[in-house]
Structure formats: C-alpha cells, structure tokens
C-alpha cells in the first residue's frame, strides 16, 4: 500500500516510489519524530526495542506490526528466535506501543501494510537478536573466564563445550543486561537456519480457538459506554437538525451527542445504543452528491475516457493503431467499487480523562509523522491534547485489508469520551461498516494492441480512468506547482491507481499508459493489493485476449514474452506444471492462467472454472509463489489461500453501487462473501529461494480474477470484461 507519508517525503528526498509498492527505506533522521511511550515490560535483559529476556528465561518479542491475521506475531518472533538461538517454547510476543523505534522503515510511519512486515523486519530484527545473543555469550564467557569465541548457543542455553559448562539465557539475563550493546554481530548463513523456514505453529492460534483473544470490539473498561453514530447516508452530507427526545426515551440510552460525523447515541450497551439510534429524529442535508448513482458514475468514466489524461509511461513507436487493421485487438474493462467488509466491524474505544487520552483500537496505523492521520495523532486532535498525552493500545484486528488505516471511528470515540466524561466504545453496525467505508476505487479501462503477422504483440495502449486514492493526501497548504512536482500525486499520476498497469512484464516494443483521474466524491482507501486489484485483472485478461487473437496457447504466449523476467517465468512454469496445463481440463471446465509481480513477490496461478446450473464454479486453483525466503511456509501458504479467496470473492460477488447518493448494499445478504461450499481446492507451491523475503500478504489477491475469467473464456467461449462476473453473461 503506498504510504502518503512517504510520498510527502518527496519534498525531502526525490524519487521514492517504484513501479510496484514501496522500495525505499526512510530513516527518521531527526526531521520528524513521534512522541514516545515508554518501552513495554521491563526485563533484566532488554538490549533493544524488540527483545526482553527475563530471569525465567522467557523471551518476549515486542511485535511492532499489527496482527490482522497475517501471522506477524509468529513470523517476527521467529526472526528473533533464529538469531538469538532461543528455545522456541520460551518465546512470547507482545504488541508494541507507539515509539519511534517501531516505525516501519518501508512506510516511514508506525503502520502495517503494503506487504512490508517481514521484509522490513528481516535485517533489523535479526541483527538485534544476533547482538543480544552475543551479549549473552559474553556474559557467560566472563563468568567462566573463557574466551567468548569458545562458547556456543543452542535453544536458550550458552555452552562451553571444552569444560562442559552451560547456563540458560534466564540465568544470564541479569549479567547480559549490564553489558554494552555491541556495534555489530554476524548473522547466520541461511544454511544454518533452524527456525526460519519451518512451519511452526502460530503463537496466536490457541487464543483464537477458545474465545480468549481480545479484539478491539472486546475491550472492556470500567464504566464503559457504547455508542453508535447516525451518519448521513450520502457522502459529504451534513446534519441539518436532530431531536434527541425519542432516542433518550429508550431505556439504557444515556446521551445523544452531535459530533463531526453525525449524531451519536451513547448507551449502556450496543443494543440500547442501536435502538436509540433507530428512534432518533434526524434530518440531513445530503449535499452535492445527493444524485450519485452507479449508472451516472459509469457514464462519467466513459466520458472521461475521451480525454487525453496524463501520459504515465510510453516507449517505442507512437504511431496510430488503426482499428480497421485486422490485427488490432481492443477491449474495455470495468471494475466496481469494493468494500473491505472485515469480519470485525469497525470500532474503537477511548477514554479521555483530564489531560490524558487512552485508546484501544484495532489499527494498522498507530502513528504517522507529518500527515497526522495515525491513531495517535487523530486521537490527539479529537481530544484537543498533544500527541504525547495519548496512549495507543493496539488490540488484535479482526481482519484489516487496508480498512484499518482509517481513523474516523477512533476520532468519534475520542470526541464522545470527552463529551460525556466516560470511556466510550464506538461500534459500527455492519450496515455502517459497508456504507461508510473507504472503498476500492471503481475503474474503466480501454485497451488496444496490435499483433504482427506472426502473432506477436508489437504495440499496447491502455487508457485507465479511475478516481485517485492519494489525492486526499495532497496538502491544501502546498502551492499547486510544488504539489504537482513533489506531492503524492506527482505530475497528476496516482501511483496507487496505475500500479500493475504501468509496467506489464511482457516484451512489447511499443507501450503507452494514460491515466485520466476521475473525481467522483466517494471516499477511497487501500484495499488488499490496491491498484493491482484492478490493473492485474485488466492486463492479464487482455494478454489472454491477445493470445486468443494470435491463435496461441495462453501459457506459451506469455512464456515467449517473459524473456526479461526469469522469476516471473519460473512461477508461470511452476503453476502450469503443477496444474498439468497441457492435459485436458475436467469436463465442463476451462483452465485459465495469470501472473503478477507486486511488492517484490512473484505469483503464477492456474484456475479451473466453468458454469454449472447457472453459477460460476471454481473447482481448483494452483498457485506458484516466489517471495524469496519464506519464514514460515504454513503461514505463508495460509496468506496465499486467503489472498485467493479475497480476490475470488471480489471476482464473483463484490460490488458497491449507489442510488440516490447512498450505498445500496448494507450487509452480507447483499454484499456477499464467498462461502465454504464455494471454496475451490487450493494448492500452493513456493519457489525455493535464498533471496531476502518479499511482500507476501497481497501477492495472490489480484491474479485469481483474471485466471478465472481466462478459464471461463475457454470453458464458455465468452470473455468476462466486467467484474463481478455475471453468470448470465456467459450463458446467454
């Protein structure tokens, strides 16, 4: 996920953002600082921000990324345990407070996203652990009067083989804590890993099967009140008037409070608050988006497609592609707005007491630096206190997928706690959650390509019309020319809109991508794999259409055009091989293939799909992934499985539409998710690699939709160019 903070740093350091995801580590060299909370859990041995070793030998790893299901509270402790030579059974984790030490170096803020967690931690956490190990060894060596280099470590114990002496890390913790931290300590060679690369059980799973895991919505504080907020159903609308009387008459309702986003009903519990809200008399001024509807959005996108837009990238000949030319292929694709629909509805708890504000929030984004939209800064602003007066407790996240970098709900909780003088938890109803999300943007695509007489594509043109997520991060205080040159939408190009479309991996001599920014007014956000979620569908569908036009096998067609991309070629081959690409597909089904490179990872995927009894069925998915070193192959496979389901849900069901300015969908009856009977069998294969870890959590999401569309083209002879897939469009 592109980070607005990083983009703003263009002002300081030009040229940060690469083609896919973030590529530059940003160091907080004093130009912006976070207000620090004290480090968690004091321990006799706490050599750095991440590692605590007690006299009982328990190794506590402070995890500075949010656990939203991706297994980070196991993967990061594994990095530490590896270099520390810890006993895995003695390793625990703890969620980090806000502190500059916990800034994500790939994001420039304390946040979890962009598939950065493991790749950002890969060297720093291992180095920290290696130093800690060296200190434990030195403590033992000094105690024994032997050279440190003659000592060894194994499973939480320092040994001196020559004399047979040994001491546990717990026994050495106090002594090690008095030693200086060394400037450096060597890291293990991959061949010596005994923890990294193993499918160890997740540390958080036991608490997630017995009900004891605490998510934001589960936070309990003495005297807690619960609020729901009536918000204008039309984006940008305002409160005209309200009458609290009927709401206040509902038993259990304590307060009715107008706040920035609407009118809050604060009650003893959620049910009372919701009943109070249903009783509330409220009138809205719908504002300029009152007439918003989906047909109008579509018309607007198509109108904008006739504009020139901004040239994102071009190479090779710019001569016109004549549509009368038999070898010119053209197609239009459309993808809808999407909601995140995390299973845990959006919520936040706040307690403003005197000059302190404490918040408990399932957030992906604890603290920012310059923009002020991290949890701590949002809470501080809402409380009217300095950030240093705010304590952020990060709870477990019941899903996130980009939704939980947004903090309106937290602001509401803080405003309400301040207003009513008690701790307040704001819970979004499911309808609130679906109707007041920050949506994956809608997009409209026009593509044209020309094939030479041998069927090879020689020119590719793509015009992409889509709203811009990043525009809202353009500072209103920057002069326009400065924002244009250095802001998050540099030269009118939103990288979050064009990523995945700007650099198709295929060797095509003439290439052009133009972007037309469409300002619709619907709130936008980062949705698992962001721009790739629409652009990979388009690129991988269109290349398949070119293969069909050339009369070529879609796998071999891609193969021949991937000469410059060996790692992509390898996942393409692996997926095709494992799926037995050349063999006949099961009766009634077709096979489709798609590939992508995102966040440093490579993915190739084959889907078997068809139409049965008027419904699209996906029976089997084979996915090959190259994300460099895999820290925990079982967690990694789960991320790939989950990423595929996320993308498949969007392909088959996902659509947010508008009528009368409001979102039409509201709950899981009309914003449907994939259910268990629809689940394909998924096989995941990782390319063995000693490369550093790449982004994993989003890599599989964008390739399933094109693979399914490509499979359906083979099964039915009809091409899907609009998501979600309408089965009736395949059988008519």
């Amino acid at each position: 996920m592109p980070d607005p903070v990083v983009s703003r740093r263009d002002l300081l350091k030009a040229g940060l953002i690469g083609g896919a995801g973030l590529v530059l580590a940003v160091h907080l060299d004093g130009c912006a600082r976070l207000d620090a909370d004290p480090p968690p859990t004091s321990a006799p041995f706490a050599p750095d921000a991440w590692i605590r070793i007690g006299t009982d030998g328990i190794v506590t790893v402070v995890v500075d990324r949010s656990e939203m299901g991706q297994g980070v509270t196991t993967a990061l402790p594994m990095l530490v345990a590896e270099e520390l030579d810890a006993d895995w059974a003695m390793v625990r984790f703890e969620q980090a407070p806000v502190n500059p030490a916990y800034v994500n170096p790939l994001a420039g803020s304390q946040r979890t996203g962009g598939s950065t967690s493991v790749r950002a931690a890969w060297l720093p956490m291992r180095r920290a652990a290696a130093k800690a190990r060296a200190m434990l060894v030195l403590a033992a060596a000094r105690a024994w009067g032997v050279p440190a280099r003659t000592c060894t470590t194994e499973r939480g114990v320092v040994r001196h083989p020559a004399t047979g002496r040994s001491a546990s890390y717990g026994e050495l913790a106090a002594m090690a804590g008095r030693l200086p931290v060394p400037a450096d300590a060597p890291l293990k060679q991959p061949g010596d890993f005994r923890i990294i690369g193993r499918p160890l059980a997740r540390l958080d799973v036991p608490s997630k099967v017995n009900g004891s895991a605490v998510y934001g919505i589960d936070v309990q504080v003495p005297g807690l009140l619960v609020a729901t907020v009536a918000r204008c159903p039309v984006f940008g609308g305002r409160l005209r008037r309200f009458d609290p009387a009927r709401a206040l008459a509902v038993p259990g309702v304590r307060h009715v409070v107008p706040i920035e986003t609407g009118v809050a009903v604060v009650a003893d519990g959620y049910w009372h608050a919701l009943r109070g809200r249903q009783a509330l008399t409220v009138e809205w001024d719908d504002g300029p988006l009152a007439g918003l509807d989906s047909a109008g959005v579509q018309r607007r996108l198509e109108d904008l497609a006739s504009e020139a837009g901004v040239r994102v990238k071009s190479r090779g000949s710019d001569s016109p592609l004549h549509t009368s030319d038999a070898r010119v292929v053209s197609a239009r694709y459309d993808l809808p707005y999407l909601a995140h629909a995390t299973m845990e509805p959006t919520n936040a708890t706040a307690h403003v007491a005197g000059h302190r504000c404490t918040v408990w929030v399932p957030t992906q984004y604890q603290s920012g630096t310059l923009v002020g939209d991290g949890a701590r800064e949002v809470a501080a602003h809402a409380a009217g206190l300095p950030p240093s007066a705010v304590t952020v407790h990060t709870t477990l996240l019941g899903g996130a997928f980009g939704r939980r970098v947004e903090h309106e709900c937290l602001s509401e909780a803080v405003q309400l706690s301040k207003a009513v003088g008690a701790p307040v938890k704001v819970i979004y109803s499911r309808e609130d959650d679906i109707r007041h999300d920050h949506y994956r943007p809608v997009s409209h695509h026009r593509l044209e390509a020309r094939l030479d007489p041998s069927g090879r594509p020689v020119a590719w043109r793509h015009k992409l019309v889509a709203p811009s997520i990043m525009s809202r991060f353009v500072s209103p205080y920057l002069p326009g020319w400065l924002a244009h040159r250095f802001g998050p939408v540099k030269h009118g190009i939103d990288n979050a809109a064009v990523e995945g479309a700007a650099s198709p991996p295929y060797r095509i001599p003439a290439f052009r991508l133009d972007y037309v920014m469409a300002n619709i007014g619907v709130p936008l956000g980062f949705w698992r794999s962001v721009g790739h979620s629409h652009n990979i569908f388009v690129v991988e569908s269109f290349i398949d259409e070119l293969a069909a036009a050339a009369g070529a096998d879609p796998y071999r067609f891609r193969r021949e055009l991937l000469v410059d991309h060996p790692r992509l070629l390898a996942v393409l081959d692996l997926a095709a091989d494992k799926a037995l690409w050349g063999s006949p597909a099961p009766e009634g089904l077709g096979r489709g293939i798609a590939i992508a490179e995102l966040y440093g990872g490579y993915v190739g995927l084959v889907a078997e799909a068809g139409v049965e009894s008027g419904a699209v069925v996906v029976r089997r998915v084979v996915c090959a992934v190259d994300v460099g070193t895999v820290v925990n192959p079982d967690i990694a496979a789960a991320q790939v499985e989950g990423g595929i389901v996320f993308g498949l849900t969007a392909a088959l069901k996902g659509e947010i539409s508008f009528k009368g300015g409001a979102v039409r969908q509201g709950n899981f009856d009309d914003y449907q998710l994939l259910r268990l009977p629809e689940m394909p069998a998924i096989e995941v294969f990782f390319v063995p690699s000693a490369e550093p870890p790449a982004g994993l959590g989003e890599v599989a999401t964008p390739v399933i939709a094109p693979a399914v569309a490509n499979a359906l083209a083979r099964a039915t002879g009809r091409r899907v160019r609009r998501l979600p897939i309408r089965p009736e469009s395949l059988t008519a």
């Binding site: 799973v205 997630k208 017995n210 899903g399 789960a638 991320q639 899981f668 268990l676």
Partner: protein, 153 residues
C-alpha cells in the same frame, strides 16, 4: 428479570427479555468470545449452542433462551480442549480469528449430531459461517480431522 444458564452456570439477570442473547453474553456476562459480525444472522460469528443446537445469538432474544442450556466458545470444553478445537490448532485454521468461535461452534454442533459427516454435510453445516480471511479449506480439513477422517482437502 430472566435466568440464563450459560456454560453450566445459572445467571439471574436484570435485562430486557427482548435483548439479543449475543449482547447479553458479550456486554452483561463479559463472554466476548462470541462475536458480533452482522446482526442479521448472515455471518455466523455469533453462533452458540442452545440445548446443543447451533443458533445465531444475534437473532435470539435472551428471554427465549431462559431455562435452556446456552453453551459459548468459552464453555465448549471444561478443561482440555474440545476435539474440534484441537483439530483447529492442528490444521492451523485461524488467521485473524474473529469468525473462528462461530466456526468452531457450528462444527462442534455438526459433529455432535453426525459423527462422520460427508463432504456435503460439512458444506451444509458450515455454509452459514463467513470467513473473510478465507480459511475455508483448513476448516474443511479440521472438521474431517475432528471426525477422525483423513483431513485431505
């Protein structure tokens, strides 16, 4: 005033009988393992057992549960983990974990009713429980494992 028997313990409660059982469990009894997901019986996150049968506690008035045995995820197993919980750990099912209490309660109710369910029976029993993280393949395996079947997908 109603009397609820939850996980074997009788609670006399001063709550409105119309209050959904979900919110009585979560906000009155502090049993937060049962989750709120949709409020309309569409997602299954709030699944508990009522006299052993799976019910959506967001759709059940607390008054209707009076005098009957309510079992939540916290009470599924008295001391050692329930075989379904063990299978969930063995198959490493949870990701974010939010829906898993409901998934486990549905699976446990299925296996109490049918000791060796067919694939179709598993699909039918689990189709009311949504998982946004996409753990369905592992859920299938875990249910089979808990039933003593080979867990292969």
């Amino acid at each position: 005033m109603i009397e609820l028997r939850v996980n074997g313990v009788i609670h006399p409660l001063d709550v409105e009988p119309a209050m959904p059982l979900l919110w009585v469990l979560r906000e009155v009894l502090g049993l937060t393992g049962t989750k709120f997901g949709c409020g309309i019986g569409q997602c299954g996150a709030c699944t508990v057992h009522l006299d052993g049968a799976p019910v959506r506690s967001c759709q059940l008035a607390a008054g209707s549960a009076a005098g009957r045995a309510v079992t939540t995820i916290e009470g599924l197993a008295a001391s050692a983990p329930h075989p379904v919980q063990e299978a969930w750990i063995a198959e490493q099912v949870p990701q974010c974990g939010y829906c898993q209490s409901g998934q486990i309660m549905s699976a446990a109710a299925l296996l109490a009713r049918v000791s060796r369910p067919t694939d179709a029976e598993i699909d039918a029993a689990m189709s009311g429980n949504l998982c946004r993280c996409g753990t369905y393949q592992r859920i299938r395996r875990a249910v089979r494992r808990a039933a003593g079947e080979p867990p292969h997908a």
